[in-house]
């Protein structure tokens, strides 16, 4: 990318463009009914099912913590991969992909803003689900460590951000990739331990789960809410961050490929 003009002004204009994309993304989500499905309705429905199951006779009291956060994690992930991950595809469906592609702002800058907008909404999913857990089932986080919880949530956000940024060109290049990840949505809930610990899975599944950045962040998140069990926060945060940055490295090549492919095939306007 050939940057022109004084560096300072260039950076400022790019930041402004990214912020503008963030604002647009938030505004479009506020007025879109589909957006509420992903961050409000589905997480709440899953949270309620989860809370009922986790409070069945035979379930331990410590199980319920997965009901408090599980719905929020499900909502957060759904927004990250559907809304944020479709950052390029939804421009295509809207018919605006050519228009934004041909501007002097690189596509990844625009997507950076859009993904941040999406993740902001994803975070909202924790609110109704935690409220349902507390008011409906009197479920709370038994031994919350606020700082470790916040940092773990931040690291989780980093992993979702990197995944969404990586998925955007992936979904744009190969439309079947979205179908596959959509089909595997609940598989991610399983492997990343959203509503039950990864430790209950078969050993081979745990091995696969280890390659997913969110798995470690979710582990840290739950560990920051209970007193018992391992508390290797530093290691978990490090693994999450390392894997997330590895995804970003892959994303770099995918973006270059998208730019090239789009200009060769001319299919930006096609839905």
């Amino acid at each position: 990318m050939n940057l022109l003009g004084p560096q300072r002004l260039v950076v400022r204009s790019l930041v402004r463009a990214a912020f503008s994309a963030f604002v647009l993304s938030v505004r479009l989500r506020v007025i879109s009914p589909w957006s509420y499905l992903n961050w409000l309705v589905f997480p709440l429905l899953f949270a309620i099912v989860g809370l009922y199951v986790l409070s069945l006779p035979g379930a331990g009291s410590s199980h319920l913590v997965y009901g408090v956060l599980g719905g929020g994690l499900i909502g957060y992930w759904s927004v990250a991969y559907i809304d944020a991950g479709n950052g390029i595809q939804d421009e295509r469906w809207n018919g605006t992909l050519e228009q934004i592609f041909a501007t002097p702002t690189p596509l990844w800058v625009i997507l950076l803003g859009k993904v941040c907008g999406g993740l902001l909404f994803g975070l909202f999913a924790f609110v109704p689900t935690a409220a349902a857990a507390f008011f409906g089932f009197h479920a709370v986080l038994p031994a919350l460590d606020p700082w470790r919880f916040v940092i773990s949530l931040g690291v989780l956000t980093l992993s979702f951000f990197c995944i969404a940024i990586t998925m955007a060109p992936l979904f744009a290049l190969w439309r079947w990739a979205f179908s596959m990840i959509n089909g595997f949505e609940l598989g991610v809930y399983i492997l990343c331990g959203f509503m039950f610990p990864v430790a209950v899975l078969a050993p081979w599944a745990q091995g696969v789960a280890g390659f997913l950045a969110p798995t470690w962040a979710v582990k840290a998140l739950y560990a920051a809410t209970v007193a018992q069990g391992p508390h290797d926060f530093a290691a978990w945060w490090a693994v999450t961050s390392g894997l997330s940055l590895a995804y970003l490295a892959g994303a770099y090549f995918l973006y270059a490929l998208v730019e090239r492919e789009a200009r060769v095939s001319g299919e930006l306007a096609l839905v």
Partner: protein, 330 residues
């Protein structure tokens, strides 16, 4: 140095066909096009659907890579210098899509102003000016989905002018507009050219090109078949006249008979309500008119007339008869 230049520009699309047995198909959209447009010109590219007009515009606006050849705009290579070029050009594809229809016109313009990296103090002044000039003032806070077709097109144009481009590309800007809206847009486009902008416009409305363009090129099947001012293009048919009449049904043998008349260069048949309109391009209309009765013996002709050729006739001549229009009807 020309503002826009194409040198042996070629574009071949490669796609696959079929689900289980995939077949690679090549489609040539541009076959080595050469063009040069000077600064300040309003240049029109005329051609039927699928001739390569949009492909050429997309190459110049950096959206598409040519297979070979060069596309140079303002001295910048559209392939390599896309980042610098995008700041200095604007484009309008028009149509219903291409805008955030759930947001207002103003929000759309503000967003694109930021994507074009226009300083806020500049866009704060320029956006109201554009809204005023394009007749959108007072409606800028309405959602785009409530705009008429004409308003959406003008909003597209406003977006294309946000960065005050030196060169503006317009791809069929009046398509789908009512006659009043189309005329208003043509006036605006002419004013922009008169103000010094270089404008590259594609259209398949001959009268539009004739009305506003300084120069025209006609493209067919990815090749330029004629280039020049509207007057010079008409010389293609200057020695020709046109004989037209209406008839109910045109059997194949009669059509063939018309084609064999001396001096006839083309015969086109088009449906018009319950009848067919036959248009004969020929060197000597008077001779052809005297022969009509012999060839079409027993058939009733109405509204028989002869006239001077127009740019449309020149265009039809250059593009060739449409097979659908030439089919004989029982």
């Amino acid at each position: 140095m020309p503002a826009i230049e194409a040198r042996r520009l070629r574009k071949t699309y490669r796609t696959t066909r079929g689900v289980f047995r995939r077949e690679r198909v090549e489609q040539v959209a541009l076959r080595g096009v050469d063009l040069a447009i000077e600064r300040g010109e309003l240049f029109g590219l005329l051609g039927p659907n699928g001739a390569g007009k949009t492909t050429m515009v997309k190459i110049f606006t950096t959206l598409l890579l040519p297979t070979s050849g060069a596309a140079v705009v303002l001295g910048l290579d559209a392939v390599r210098d896309q980042w610098a070029l995008r700041r200095r050009i604007g484009f309008v594809f028009g149509g219903e899509r291409g805008l955030y229809w759930r947001l207002s016109g103003l929000d759309n313009l503000r967003y694109f102003a930021d994507l074009y990296r226009i300083p806020p103090e500049v866009s704060r002044r320029r956006i109201p000016e554009l809204l005023e000039r394009l007749g959108l003032a007072g409606r800028e806070r309405d959602r785009v989905e409530l705009y008429s077709r004409g308003m959406k097109q003008r909003l597209h144009l406003a977006r294309g002018l946000l960065n005050d481009p030196e060169v503006l590309f317009l791809d069929e800007p009046t398509i789908g507009l009512d006659p009043v809206g189309a005329r208003e847009l043509r006036v605006i486009v002419r004013e922009l050219a008169d103000a010094g902008k270089t404008i590259f416009l594609t259209t398949h409305y001959m009268f539009e090109a004739d009305a506003i363009c300084d120069r025209i090129a006609v493209i067919k099947g990815g090749e330029i078949v004629a280039e020049g001012t509207p007057s010079s293009i008409k010389t293609v048919v200057q020695d020709q006249g046109v004989v037209e009449f209406e008839v109910v049904g045109m059997p194949a043998d009669r059509l063939a008979g018309l084609r064999t008349l001396p001096g006839v260069t083309s015969v086109a048949v088009a449906d018009h309500e319950l009848a067919q309109v036959v248009t004969i391009h020929c060197a000597r209309p008077a001779d052809v008119m005297t022969q009509l009765g012999l060839v079409l013996d027993g058939m009733t002709m109405e509204k028989v007339s002869s006239r001077e050729p127009t740019l449309e006739d020149a265009y039809v001549q250059l593009i060739g008869d449409s097979p659908a229009n030439s089919e004989a009807s029982p």
